[in-house]
Each structure stands twice: as C-alpha cells, then as structure tokens.
Symmetry: C2
Subunit: 521 residues, 2 copies
C-alpha cells in the first residue's frame, strides 16, 4: 500500500483488536481484500479460514460462548452473510456476543446493481441487534469500535448480541482515521435488580419451587448459588431445554434439564407452585401441536422473575441465597465414572463411554441427535462446559466445537452430532484439521432424521408412505462418515460396538488434533 496514513481497513482492524477481538473466522472475497491486507499485518488477530460461512458464524458463536467476548467473522457481501444466517440465528438465541464484518461494493458502485449486489442490511437485520453500513473511510475505526460495544451491550431477550457492520470497499481502501483507544466497553451483563431479589425472597422458596436457569446463571458461580438455595429451601433447579452454556460436573451442585416435548415439560411443571425464572424465558412448546398449548406453565403456578438473560443472574442468585440465609455451600456432585459397557452400541452406551473416558475440564457442543442424552452421565463424571443447540437450526454443533477449541486451546472439545445435522455444515472438519484443533466429533449415525419419524407419527399417522419416508431417511446412499472426515484431513473410525467405540475414543483422546467417530446407534 503506497500511502502514508493507514487506510480505512487498517483502522477497522486496529479498532477491533484494541477492543479485544482476537480471532477472525473468515471466508473473504474480492470486496474484502483490503481487510485481508490489514489482517495480514496484524499479528494480534488470528485469521481462520472456513470453507463455508455457516462454519464461520457457528464457530464465532462457540468462541463467544466460551470467552464471553466476541470473535469477528469476515464474510463476502449478502450471499456470504446469507450462508451464515442459520448459525447467527442460533447465536442470537444464545445471546452470544459476535461481530460480523461484511464486505460491500464501494458506495458509488452499489447503484449499478452488479451481480453480487444485495440488500445486505435486510439480510442481516433478522439476526442482528445492531446493523450499520459505513459511509466513509474515516468513520471505520469508530464504526468497528461501536460494533464491539454493541455486541457487548446487554439487551433484553431475544434481541441477541450480534453486531453486523457492512463495509463498502471504498471505505476500506480510503484514508482512515483511527478511533480513540481510551474508550471503554460495556459490561456484558447488567447488574441484577435488587427489587427482584427482594420480591423473590419475600415470596419464599420451598420444595414446590422450581428455579429455571439460563444465561450467566449457568456459570459456575450461578450454579453454586442455586445449589445453596436448593440446600436451604428444598427448591428444585433446572436448566432450560437448550441453554447457551452450562458449567457443570463433580464439585458443583447437581442441576437437571427441562425436557423437550411439551407433555414432558407439563409433567415436570405439574405441582410446581412457584416458578422462578433466572435468565430463562417461561417454558413454551418448541413447536405448536394441535393437542397441546403453547404456554406450558400450569394456570395455578406463580411465575416470578429473578433476572432477565441480559442481567447478572449469578449475582442475583448469590444475593438471594444470602437474603434467605443459605449456607456457604450445598451438596455437590461426587465424581462417578461409569463402568465401560460392552456389546452393541447405543445412544445410551455412547453416553456412558463418553462419561467414563472424557477428560476433566472438557467442552461439549451438541447438535441434533443423541448427544443431549449424555448430559446426566457427563455431569456425574467430569467438569465440563456444555454448549447446546440454542435456536433449533441444526448444523451448529460442529462449527461451535471449532470455535470453542479456538477459544480454549488447552481443553478437549467434543462435538456430539446427529448425522443429519453434521451433514449440514460438514466443512467444519476441514477447519478443525487445518488448525489442528482438539475436536473429537461423534456422529450418532442412525441414517435418518429421527426426530421427524417421531413428529410425523405424533400426527396420528402410523402408516408412513414410501414418499414421506424418503424425506426422513438418510440411507440410499449411506454416508460414510469416516471417509468424509478423511477427505477433509480428519482421521477417524467407525464403531459398531461399545468396545470399538471405547478404543476409538481412546485414540481420539491420545491425539493432538481432530478425530471423528461414526457411532452406529
């Protein structure tokens, strides 16, 4: 670059790194070349190439959930952003701080409606809490800082914490003006509301009380505080069905999980006299059904809110525990490693083997499929952080595992994926291989969209015709997951038996890089 002052792209990247952004999940194109040039000269920012934008956004989500601070994506115009929408939807539901930087044609070029021109802001808005298109080169430094600040600004559920900055090429190549670096960034969670704590304390907690938790209530501090409350009052404690992140395991109080189907949730809630929401929304049915209500809270259950998701729910729980005279610590989970099962593999035995062999302080990212079934066994065996599929858009777990591994290079990351969801964003494997991330992928291979089999029969149809069945069926042809992983540089093995699976998992854990196990369940 033959210029004396930094161009807009350099001031943008400088602002982002000043604001603490350390990783860039990238799939750039021509309109982003000046930003690539700026990244090339910025050792503080790690560029990570993904071969599909849904991997970029899902990885940024996983990173943000583990770090509590945003990664950036670098995507190519409206089409590149479009490919990332589904995992941005999941990230929005998770409340993950995340900054998208989307290249755009030069301002003067947009009206010519060249082939890649699209309504980028229109595509971004449904998944973003903050959208801005830069208009001049000298605003890029400030715009970038504002984007990080926006991603960290607490907002009420379900606004999310995704900031999308659209950067026209002429703003990137024009003369920049650095943003002042002494600006401060917001705290991610708003202070809890003393009045809400007092109100819940006044109402009183007892064995008929259920604490339903999400957000930062599910950090170690929050779970410990909830454990104190349970010990003091006899209340029950559950996570939502698909919380963004749960820190759990031996040494921490036990915490259950709300089930999935509406009739199961109603069963759990029947008899609950007081439901206390801590960073969670009141339970609603995941889908609508003809015979089920949307709102699953019984009419005679009193609903209190201790904290919204964007508030410091962990702090609120601790204050409530203090108010109610709870002791310093309640009972905690004692580590129990299950015996290794033998014989034919099943979702249950996969859970047991994972719980038997997983290293302490691991991370688990689950998608659709059987992964979630391992929650209870894992909670009894090892400390871990669990990242759930928050928004129901499958294809999230693999990319999230990549992002979590980038955020926490010293921790083993499990990606527990259904075969249907794994196929959506199978390109995450390549990035795991390139970056040599310690991601152990388990594909629960049942060769069908199992949930749809169940849901279809819930319509009352017991005879599934051939044409309908073809839409739930992932066989014909069978997907060879070991070959698919190998084609992208990830070694792996197929396991039909418990013995095979345990041996494969042993090899995976002994490796320093990624590994995939096709678990025949």
């Amino acid at each position: 670059m033959q210029q004396n002052s930094p161009n807009g792209a350099h001031t943008l990247i400088r602002s982002l790194t000043d604001a603490g952004v350390e990783v860039c999940l990238a799939n750039p194109g021509t309109s982003e070349m000046h930003m690539v040039e700026a990244i090339d000269g910025t050792p503080a920012l790690r560029p990570v190439l993904c071969l599909f934008e849904g991997v970029c956004t899902g990885a940024a989500d996983g990173y943000g959930r583990m770090r509590g601070a945003p990664a950036m994506t670098l995507l190519h115009l409206g089409a590149g952003l479009g490919n990332g929408i589904a995992n941005l939807h999941n990230a929005r539901r998770a409340g993950t701080p995340l900054v998208n930087v989307i290249g755009e044609h030069a301002v003067h070029h947009v009206p010519y409606d060249a082939p890649l021109t699209a309504d980028i802001e229109g595509i971004a808005r449904p998944v973003s809490s903050w959208v801005r298109t830069s208009r001049t080169a000298d605003s890029l430094g400030d715009d970038a800082w504002d984007a990080v600040a926006a991603a960290l600004t607490p907002r009420p559920d379900p606004a999310g914490s995704i900031a999308t900055l659209v950067v026209p090429a002429d703003c990137a190549w024009g003369p920049g003006r650095p943003a002042p670096s002494n600006r401060s960034l917001p705290q991610r969670y708003r202070a809890f509301d003393d009045a809400a704590v007092a109100s819940v304390a006044a109402a009183g907690l007892d064995a008929g009380t259920l604490l339903l938790m999400d957000g930062n209530a599910l950090t170690e501090a929050g779970v410990r505080a909830a454990g104190r409350l349970a010990a003091r009052t006899g209340c029950r404690v559950l996570t939502t069905t698909f919380p963004a992140r749960v820190d759990s395991g031996p040494g921490l109080p036990a915490i259950g999980r709300l089930p999935y189907f509406p009739e199961q949730i109603r069963e759990v809630l029947s008899g609950v006299s007081t439901l206390v929401l801590v960073g969670a929304q009141a339970p609603v049915s995941f889908f609508a059904y003809q015979q089920q209500p949307s709102d699953l809270v019984p009419a005679d259950t009193r609903v209190l809110r201790l904290a919204h998701r964007h508030e410091d729910g962990a702090g609120a729980l601790a204050a409530l525990a203090d108010d109610l005279g709870a002791g310093a610590e309640g009972p905690v989970v004692t580590a129990v490693r299950p015996e290794l099962p033998g014989g034919a593999l099943s979702t249950r035995s996969v859970s047991e083997i994972l719980a038997a062999l997983a290293p302490d302080d691991c991370i688990v990212a689950s998608d659709s499929g059987g992964g979630g079934a391992a929650v209870p066994a894992m909670q009894r065996s090892v400390r871990h952080a669990w990242l759930h599929l928050t928004g129901g858009a499958i294809g999230q777990g693999g990319p999230a595992a990549v992002g979590a591994a980038l955020a926490c290079p010293d921790r083993t990351v499990f990606a527990l994926l259904g075969d249907g969801g794994a196929m959506y964003t199978n390109q995450f494997l390549w990035t795991a291989a390139r970056e040599q991330l310690k991601v152990v992928t388990v594909v629960y291979r049942n060769r069908r969209y199992g949930i749809l089999d169940v849901e279809y029969r819930r319509l009352g149809i017991n005879e599934v015709g051939e044409r309908a069945a073809s839409l739930f069926d992932l066989s014909r042809p069978d997907i060879d997951w070991v070959a698919l992983a190998a084609s992208q540089g990830v070694p792996g093995a197929r396991a039909d038996t418990c013995e095979d699976f345990a041996a494969a998992l042993g090899r995976a854990l002994a490796s320093d890089g990624p590994y995939l196990i096709e678990a025949v369940v």
Copy 2:
C-alpha cells in the same frame, strides 16, 4: 388423517400440482409434517430430499432454468430458508421462476417466540419478488396458486421471479378449501415492444453494433434470429458474462461471451458505436476497483434497448431481423471435435477433452473455477444448454446440475466446479446419488481460491504475507475429492494427466448415475 374435507396442506399441494409444479426439493422439519403427509399422497409431485437447503434452492434454480416453470422447495422456518439464501440470490439474478414453501409455527404460537421463531418474511424479502404469509387454512389453495402465478409473472430486472409462501402449521392442519382449478397462469415473458424494434431498426445495425444478449434471447430461437441479424448487418453478438442459460453449439450461429474483468470488457466495447441490449443490462464492473469506472460503456457509445429481460427478446430479435430484411438463416457453427490432448492436465486441456467427448444435447452448469473456459470449445463441438453462475454466490453449480438433471432426465449434465465453490454445497453429491442422476462433476482442483490470488495482487501487493495467503489457500489439509464423493455414494477418479481425465470421463459417460472427476489443474 381422520377428517372428511382435505386439510390446508392437501389443498396447497393440490393447487401447486394443478399449476404445473412437478418436483419438490425438500428438507422439511416438524412444522412441515402436514405438508409431507399431503405430498405422500400426491403421485404427481416428486419429493427429492436434499441434505442442506442450499442444495434445494440451487436445484430448484437449475430445474427452473431448464423447464421455464417453477419447482418448489419445502424448507423449515427462517433458519432453513436462511441456508437457501445464497442460491436464491443466484436464482433471482437468473430470473428463474421458483416457489419456496416455508413452514412456520402456528399463527397462535408465533408470539411465544419459541427457539426457531424468526422473521421469515424479513429473511425472504431480499431474494423474493413476492412474499406472503398465509393466515387461514382455507386460503392455502389460493395462496399456493398465487405463488405459482407470481413466479411466472414477468417483472423488470432485477426483481427476479421467486415467490415465497410462508405456511403456518395451523393453516396446514386446518380445514382447507381447494382453489378453483380453471384459473389461468401468466406467460413468463411479456410480449416485446414494437416501438423498441422500430427504434432499433431505424437506428440501423452495422459492424460497429454489438448485440448484448441475456434472458430468452439466448434460447435457440433467439440465437438464430441474432445470427440472421449478424449475417445481414455485420453486427457482433455476445452473451453477458454470466447469463442464466445459453442454448448453443453446432447448427446454431456462433455467439461469443463478454469477458469478466472490467479492463477486458472496456477493450471489447472500445470501438462499439451502438450497443443493443436484448434482455441484458448495460455492462458494469463485477466489483468496484480504485482505477476502474463502474459503468463500462464508452461515453461515445449509443445504447439502445431492444428488450428487457422479462420481455420476449427472442421474438423482438426475429421481428427486427424481418424488418431489416435478413435472410432465413445466417452461418452456423460446424461441429469440430477437438483432438484429445495428452500430457499434464490443465484447465485448457480439460476444456478440450470435454468438448471432444461430451454427448450431444448435454447441459453444463458451471460455478467458480475453470469451467467457464470450456465455453468456446463446447460451442464448437456439441449442442448444449449452459447454466452460468448468475449471481456470483459460489456453490451454485452442483445443486443447479442436480436440478437440471431432474428437469431433463434424458440429458447428460456436467457440473464444472472450482474446488472452493464445490465445497460450499458438497451435499449435492448425495442427492445426485440417491436419485441416480446422470451428473458428471468435474472439480477443477487447484487447491486455492484462485480468483482471490488474482484480485489481491490487483491491489498492487506483490508480497502476499503468510496470514493473507492462508485465506486463499485450500491446502493444509488437501481435500480428497474422490473420497468425499465416495462418502456420499458417488464414484469417481482423480486425473493428473489428459489420458487419465479422458479415461475417467469415458467411465463417467458410460455410467447411468453420477460420477466425479477430481481434475488436477
């Protein structure tokens, strides 16, 4: 279904098939189960499962370009639609008629903001010319008919021809009312404008005239009429750089193609005294550059419009040829099959071998990468329809090939893909295998985003740093395309030499199903 009158889903599917929809590219979820049940009982509609929604939308695009009539997609809420956005962008740019049916939560369930809830209309609007959310079960039959009519309604470029119908689950399961089936559908192209023909005729065509063609000007009838004009007046005839579909080959007049880079386009246009647009837009730069204008038409070139893209450009050309006293037919291309080259493989020799061996009446879908280089050689050797990457969103060619093969089961379809673009939507291979489609995929494997290498250096940077280079580089790890295809049920071979490639192509053409060749170029 225990009901006497058909439910909304049945009336929806009935309307779609009455309106001529024959293929459903599907990746349904729970909210679409009633529509799956209706499809199960409708032999006139062929359901085709795709393992990622970008394959659904790209295949619907390829189908629509070949048939001139819409296929439908069936996608799962906002997230499923989001995954299809990039190829809908391409389809919009192609003007392809296409109907999206997107499941939504029941109307009463939407306000509860369950995890998959999203602004579906907001996601759809940037890529759709028509968006409707059904509100009652008894409107679904009419809504579906209106969607097909909207997809066929001629609209000015760049509005596109994509209709998106959002179907709440309660509308699908509630009692339906069939739409009257005696309604008529619009013609896809508006009649040409006699005044435009007269105006171009009065201006006169000569050797300084360039006809720039897209839309239905590039059908066989349009190309023949342009050939008559060229023979009569000496004018030149070119397609746009990325036309939706070109019917070309021996027996038809020769037609060139506008190049890609702005300086190349300016070179072609220098000395053009009159530019006649026939279904095409005036040439603009694909991207903005600091040293290039956006509008590439020389200041002293007169620009006339014979037809807009949504008008019958082929008819306008024929009328113009008649007006100018052109003969019945101009010179046509004589078939010349190139000699089979030998030695190391290159993009050029791949073009020659394809041209030497491709069967007559084939279809070619190209994406990024070297495929487009085969246009001239193929034009000299076999009749074919060529489907270009219209919107610049890579990952289109494979899905489009699937759709073209569904539309034209008797024709061989080539998917000519760069390795970068092929990776985006590699799941098209699975659908090609399940449906046993005659799709011959050639992956031009150069292990880099080659265009970005070029574009980056156009910035004036000759020293590409390691971090920038890592973002253009598809090696580390190398992708094994033969293994990736095999993992999804598609046989294939790697070819390092011309001899290997010709042998592999021979095997591919002898097969009744899909085949993939990794061409080392």
